[in-house]
């Protein structure tokens, strides 16, 4: 039997659906629900409904119920749009990159990352729709779309990303759905059977699945990068001071990955504690993700520092008005909080291995999320609040409607995520098993291939 076939045999055996395996903890959340789930769900649903109510108020009366005005025509909704889309980079990008890099520690976290992506994109798009003055004319974007507009690039890119991410989430989900199919009965059994697409775990099916997943992993990365690049182009393609910057594309992508990792860490920590997955989401995972977060902290700081230093040296009055507004003016509290939350605190926590624990990374991630939201805020609002022509006295603060919608969106996201964990295993069961049974051997073999063989051959041939 060829080596590949051997490997396939091992994998297949390992992955044949079986009862009473060691990974019961991963299936347990799907099969059993406690009162805590319902209680949390009720709370989140209440907040989400409150957000819906706030939106209905806005839909009825118009955007006047927000705090937006002239010249601050964009505010919290656009901030949220960029923020949510940014977080969506967590999943697919991390999952895809780690998969391509064959980083084995990814196995426990890919699913939770991919779910973040798929769900949060809806809220990103939702934020834009909420921001529209005439949501009833949404189809005009299709009917009369103009491709010179960066917003249309957004539409294409984000919808492609959503489609790709959904596929990329679904494909590795299939084997787990099959496991659940075989463990449930009645309505749920029928549901899982429909979604399992007749998965039986044969070697051929596995081969096909691996190929598809690999293709998606490769395809989804440029799409993901394009997503936040075109989001940045919404700002960069105007001529407004401190928007029209060449650095925005990479800056936003880096910021997106940054906030995405932070969101992922947070989500993982919550899942870990709620579903008692301490065996699967181990400190080492948080450690490695913490290192990635640290790298992104430094990268974020590099980009931000460049942006502000270059602007400062340019000394152009229009740009400096915005610059000063952020550094020392009305936006200084937001700006410096952002710096503390995105750089200072994470650096301190994550640079030291002793503090790069689960708790440490969670704290760092929370501050990163706050800081990144503030970063979007300090990008969107100050440039608008300092128009070139005098004659406006800008001041913008969101109203209860805007905050409620923000809270509602966050709550709804959490609620949907929670529901997902109840319907599908949040840690990929088959990948864990694959890791346990096949990957160890594979990795040993791979490492050995890096090193000199010591048997007199060079590159597999006799010297």
């Amino acid at each position: 039997m060829s080596q590949r076939a051997q490997e396939a045999e091992v994998i297949t055996t390992a992955l044949r659906p079986q009862h009473g395996s060691e990974d019961e903890a991963l299936i347990a959340p799907v099969l059993r629900t406690t009162w805590r789930f319902w209680a949390m769900g009720a709370v989140l649903a209440a907040v989400a409904l409150w957000g819906v109510n706030a939106y209905l108020v806005q839909f009825r009366w118009g955007l006047g119920v927000t705090g937006l005005n002239r010249p601050t025509y964009w505010g919290i909704y656009i901030t949220n749009f960029v923020f949510f889309i940014g977080i969506s980079h967590a999943g697919t990008l991390i999952s895809a990159i780690l998969r391509l890099a064959r980083a084995e520690w990814r196995r426990a976290i890919t699913r939770s990352a991919e779910v973040i992506t798929v769900l949060v994109i809806f809220f990103g798009i939702g934020s834009i729709l909420i921001d529209m003055g005439r949501p009833d004319r949404l189809l005009n974007i299709i009917k009369h779309g103009r491709f010179q507009s960066p917003l249309l690039w957004d539409v294409v890119s984000v919808s492609t990303y959503l489609t790709g991410s959904t596929v990329y989430l679904f494909l590795p989900l299939i084997p787990d759905i099959a496991i659940l199919r075989d463990r449930t009965s009645g309505f749920r059994h029928r549901f899982y059977r429909a979604l399992a697409l007749g998965w039986t775990g044969t070697p051929r099916q596995h081969r096909v699945l691996e190929i598809l997943i690999s293709i998606m992993a490769v395809v989804v990365i440029p799409i993901a990068i394009s997503v936040h690049t075109v989001v940045s182009f919404v700002f960069a393609m105007t001529i407004q001071p401190m928007w029209h910057s060449a650095i925005f594309g990479p800056y936003f992508v880096a910021g997106a990955i940054f906030s995405g990792i932070a969101a992922l860490i947070l989500a993982m920590a919550i899942i870990r504690s709620v579903y008692r997955l301490h065996d699967y989401l181990k400190p080492v995972h948080f450690d490695y993700l913490g290192v990635l977060l640290l790298v992104m902290t430094l990268l974020w700081f590099y980009f931000t520092f460049s942006e502000y230093l270059v602007t400062f040296y340019g000394s152009e009055p229009v740009h400096m008005a915005v610059w000063w507004a952020k550094i020392a003016g009305p936006f200084a509290p937001a700006f410096w909080t952002m710096v503390a939350c995105c750089f200072v605190i994470p650096l301190v926590i994550l640079a030291n291995r002793r503090t790069r624990t689960v708790k440490g990374t969670v704290v760092a991630s929370s501050t990163v999320l706050v800081g990144m939201w503030l970063e979007r805020w300090t990008i969107v609002v100050p440039s608008l609040s300092n128009p070139r022509l005098p004659g406006t006295e800008p001041s913008y603060f969101p109203t209860w409607v805007e905050w409620s919608i923000f809270a509602g969106a966050a709550a709804m996201f959490a609620l949907l995520y929670m529901i997902f964990t109840k319907v599908f295993p949040i840690v990929s069961i088959w990948e864990i098993r694959e890791g346990r049974e096949a990957a160890v051997a594979e990795v040993v073999g791979r490492v050995k291939s890096y090193l000199p063989s010591g048997d007199g051959t060079v590159g597999g041939r006799a010297a």
Binding site: T34, W35, W38, A39, A42, A46, L49, V52, W61
Partner: protein
């Protein structure tokens, strides 16, 4: 406790249902939506027949010509009349918003009578009979002199009121408008003996020295002044005019001047005399003019040379000695140059002495009754209304001491009278085209004074401040709904008669105020009925317009090129009238907007100088300046430098917002919004101080502060403005705010509460110049 899925789903359903009926959905409307329930506006159908009606704007005394656009009977737009010589097609925001004045939601829809403490609708018959009964009763009891009428109208409407009071037996026909009536007019009355007011020939001036604020922002004729400015800047071959604005703050007018000279509030006249001092010292005065046309100048010369040395003037005004010398030289050596005084009523404007000093300065350089100077416009040659008889009661009433000495600043005089200066009570007050309470600032003190009058009648079309405390409201038509004559003059001194005709039928149960007054007069009976036999105001207009027709002078409005033709013909003694019979004249005048006479005869000495000496009389000014003179009135405010009361370090400078004083317009939203635009303020009251003062007080731009003087206090928003000099606090004054209206005017005249009313027969003690305030955080 286990919460089961079923319970959860049920709870969610209930919550969803509740959310759908959420009261928040219906009650949470945006804060900036008008409180009144609104119907979505439906424009008239496209293609509906359109017509244009020519009339004259009645929003202010400027007298611009308008064309009203009507579609399917609705007034949908107002544009300027290019044939009208005052504005030649241009307009100002007040006139442009005219349609809003017609369709205003706060218009009074019918006569109102106060019963049970509230104003309730009543019928015209009842209202008029009430008023007539009271008037007759007062006349019976020999108290006809206790009736006072504040008149904000001009032309024949004013004549009707004068006839009414004259025949009725009251000497109290008071001026009641905030425009154009006090300082320059009184100065010319004192020094030239004429009543017409000043026409500043700005189009032909090469140097304009403007004292006080607002000549470009409103003044005697907003559009007229603006047009003259535009021509003097860029519209003529003789070079661009130089404008110097002397003013305590950098107003819009000052911003458009070539130079702004900051000056301490209330010291315009002092500076004028200081300039005169330098002109005389350097021998730059027009000696020939003074010899020929001046009377009593030597006395004034001696006083000015003695008391108004540049050092003293500099100390009082804050203008540097170098600037005084330079300005004097510029003013005297650029010919023609003209000094323009402030021209409005109300708190914050110049005293009459200042007006006289400025007029005297003009005379010193020969800028009186000469091209580019101060002209005395001839009146429109209307026929006087026929004389009326009198009876004993009437004669006795007329002989009573008049309230306020017949001065134009009616509301101030009235307030002083009611507060104790008066020798008899006022039993009936008529506000006729006037809102005296607003002109007095709408504050508590003014209200208390007016409440002393047992019966107040208002003819206002809106529930303005006075109407709100009136006992009877007889709403007039909106100016677009009535016939009226609008006699005025252009800046070149040409008399103009604009005709105002209804462009649409009256929307509510309103009546022409003059017609109502005439009807009331007929109800009173006796000589009053004889004096006012007309039922239709158009009849009165035609009656008096026959005088124009008979004079054979002037022409109906025509294209600008026709002006030169008419002028040439008339100067050579021929007629250039473009009308034949009176019917032709009247038809043409209503179709084109009116009549004018584009000739100013600079040689009409007897018309222009009606003093006993037949010359410009410098005596009144000299008398008021000389503190050791024989006058019993308080010494001139200009002679002494008032000291700041302790604890009130900032000198208050009030400046009236001219557009806020539109006649009979109600609060117009478009106009309200544009007031203060240059400072990015609007709607609510603000106080301006300079940067250094703000820092010293520890206050920042936008802070809510309390402004206190010895007279009163107001709350305002602080505006830190570089255009205010240190030690000065500037505040705008507008008519009082009336709550509950569609657009609540939150720019109340409360600022006027910081100063007392002007009193004294010559309006000396211009309180604004002496008002001191302090500012602290609210």
């Amino acid at each position: 406790m286990t919460l089961r899925r079923r319970d959860f789903l049920k709870a969610m359903q209930t919550a969803a249902a509740a959310a759908a009926f959420s009261p928040l959905l219906t009650s949470c409307r945006g804060p900036d939506r008008p409180r009144s329930r609104v119907a979505t506006a439906v424009p008239p159908p496209r293609g509906a027949p359109e017509s244009w009606v020519v009339s004259t704007c009645g929003a202010c005394p400027g007298g611009c010509g308008i064309r009203a656009r009507l579609v399917a009977g609705r007034l949908v737009g107002i544009a300027g009349n290019p044939l009208h010589p005052v504005n030649r097609g241009g307009l100002c925001p007040l006139g442009i918003s005219g349609a809003h004045a017609v369709y205003h939601p706060d218009r009074i829809r019918g006569p109102l009578r106060r019963s049970g403490g509230e104003l309730r609708p009543t019928s015209w018959d009842e209202a008029l009979s009430t008023l007539t009964a009271r008037l007759r009763d007062l006349r019976q009891r020999g108290l006809s002199h206790t009736v006072a009428l504040l008149d904000g109208t001009r032309g024949l409407s004013r004549d009707v009121a004068a006839r009414f009071l004259g025949a009725y037996g009251s000497p109290n026909h008071l001026g009641g408008r905030p425009w154009n009536d006090v300082t320059a007019t009184e100065a010319m009355r004192a020094m030239q003996g004429v009543e017409t007011g000043a026409a500043y020939d700005l189009e032909n001036a090469r140097f304009i020295l403007a004292f006080g604020s607002g000549w470009l922002e409103g003044a005697w004729s907003p559009v007229g002044a603006a047009r003259a400015y535009g021509i003097a800047r860029r519209g003529r071959k003789s070079g661009r005019v130089q404008v110097v604005q002397v003013e305590p703050r950098l107003s819009v007018s000052a911003a458009h001047a070539d130079e702004w000279v900051p000056i301490q509030p209330g010291t315009d006249g002092v500076l004028a005399l200081g300039l005169m001092h330098m002109v005389l010292r350097e021998g730059l005065e027009n000696r020939q003019f003074l010899d020929q046309w001046g009377f009593g100048f030597d006395w004034l010369r001696a006083l000015v040379l003695r008391d108004y040395h540049p050092d003293a003037v500099s100390e009082r005004t804050g203008v540097s000695v170098a600037n005084i010398i330079r300005l004097a030289r510029q003013f005297a050596s650029t010919r023609p140059a003209v000094a323009v005084g402030d021209d409005r009523n109300g708190p914050g404007v110049q005293s009459v002495e200042s007006g006289m000093a400025i007029h005297a300065l003009n005379a010193v350089v020969g800028a009186v009754n000469s091209p580019g100077g101060v002209l005395t416009p001839p009146g429109v040659p209307l026929d006087p209304l026929p004389a009326f008889g009198s009876d004993e009661r009437g004669a006795r009433g007329r002989a009573a001491p008049p309230l306020g000495g017949g001065r134009a600043d009616g509301p101030s005089a009235l307030q002083a009278w009611l507060e104790g200066a008066g020798s008899y009570p006022v039993n009936l007050l008529v506000a006729y085209g006037s809102d005296p309470l607003a002109m007095l600032g709408g504050g508590e003190r003014a209200r208390v004074a007016l409440r002393k009058v047992p019966f107040v009648v208002s003819f206002s079309a809106f529930l303005d401040d006075t109407a709100r405390l009136a006992d009877l409201v007889l709403p007039d038509h909106a100016w677009l709904e009535r016939w009226q004559d609008d006699p005025t003059f252009t800046s070149r001194g040409f008399p103009v008669l604009g005709l105002r005709q209804p462009v649409l039928k009256p929307r509510h149960d309103t009546r022409h105020a003059a017609e109502v007054l005439a009807e009331v007069g007929r109800g009173v009976g006796g000589p009053v009925a004889e004096a006012l036999p007309w039922r239709d105001f158009q009849e009165v207009m035609k009656l008096s317009a026959r005088g124009i027709h008979r004079s054979g002078r002037g022409a109906l409005f025509d294209v600008p090129e026709a002006e030169a033709w008419v002028e040439t013909m008339e100067r050579n003694g021929w007629r250039a009238t473009n009308f034949g019979s009176f019917e032709e004249f009247w038809a043409g005048a209503t179709a084109r907007g009116g009549w004018w006479d584009p000739v100013y005869d600079f040689g009409e000495r007897r018309r222009v100088l009606r003093t006993p000496s037949g010359k410009i009389d410098f005596g009144p000014l000299a008398r008021s300046l000389d503190p050791r003179g024989t006058r019993k009135e308080p010494a001139s405010a200009m002679a002494r430098a008032p000291a700041a009361p302790s604890g009130y370090p900032l000198k208050l400078h009030l400046y009236p917002l001219l557009f806020a004083f539109g006649d009979d317009q109600g609060p117009l939203p478009l106009v309200q919004d544009l007031l203060g635009r240059e400072l990015q303020e609007s709607w609510s009251l603000w106080v301006e101080i300079g940067q250094s003062d703000a820092r010293a007080l520890g206050l920042e731009d936008g802070a809510r502060v309390k402004v206190e003087s010895e007279e009163g206090a107001v709350e305002a928003r602080l505006k830190v403005y570089a255009g205010v000099q240190p030690g000065v606090a500037a505040m705008p004054v507008g008519p009082g705010g009336a709550p509950g209206q569609a657009w609540r005017r939150a720019m109340p005249g409360q600022a006027a509460a910081l100063v007392g009313p002007r009193h004294g027969p010559t309006g000396s003690a211009s309180a604004a110049g002496d008002a001191w305030v302090r500012i602290r955080r609210a």
